[in-house]
Amino acid sequence: MKFLKRYRFFIVSILALLFLLLLNHGLGWKALNLSMYSLKEMVLIIPPIFILLGLLDIWVPRETMVKYMGEKSGIKGIALSFLLGSATAGPLYGAFPVAAIFLKKGAKLTNVLIFIGAWSTTKIPMFLFELSSLGVKFALTRLLIDIPGIILIAFTLSRLLSKEEIKSIYENAKSL
């Protein structure tokens, strides 16, 4: 029962895939192939990310995280969050477990949100790729709007949440 409850979303999505296969064989087959492709991507990217966060959890003391990314880390904390998020690889869902460990270790919520924003959109390897595909003007314009945008979104989000909500997010991160 516990298994069924945990995997109910997955079961529903598999059923949707089967339904699509019955409805339109070509489209269903394409969806299946694309899912297998994403699975391959996940299998490649997940082990290093989770091993890194395990190491981070064990080796980096709370005081260090608080000092560099905590409440009083100021502009240095913002810069560090940007750098850490931009230097990574992998899809956005890889950022969330890492962000949760940051929270658990006492990083400031806005910094964690900046880290997620940077991971989502200012990754350095992706920027180079964007540059060659869509041109300097496009890539540079986007980067220049995104940097203040990410900071603005992070601060707006922490403003919108109540103290209790923020507290429960930290509690949740501890239990993961």
């Binding site: 996940m42 091993i51 064990i58 690889a89 969330f96 924003g117 595909s133 869509l134 314009t141 989000l157």
Partner: protein, 159 residues
Amino acid sequence: MMIGLYIVTISLLSLSFYRDTNKSIKALKKAWKAFENILPQLLSVIVLVGIMLALFDAEFISNMIGEKSGWYGTLLSALIGSITLIPGFVAFPTAALLVDSGAGYMQIGAFISTLMMVGVVTLPVEIKYFGKRLAVTRNLLAFLFSFLVAYIIGMVVGN
């Protein structure tokens, strides 16, 4: 990039084992627990992404977002970008092709921006870590912000 990630991970893991075997085993156990915890959500995301990508292929997208499609086309591209999840190394060349086949820069700006910042299919994962309110609001703000990005890109690059 993937190779870089593996080199860093293997080096740090080796260093960790060299310094303290027990702590390293504990770290690996934590890694496994964290992974097992999120596995159901990750698996659903993968299947949903497959279905979405099969429905919204490049041809479909380019039909939607021509240069003259204006704000309507921008809204559509933003919606498509929000619900799909395409890795960057596929998305950028696709976007370049779309531009060549007549898509406007404003629309492509909205598509690329929401593609990266907004994740509707990854919401179950995000909610698991950050709760419903923060996850939904973050996506909503990123969605709105993408229109500003699109507008400025349309102005700077379009002409």
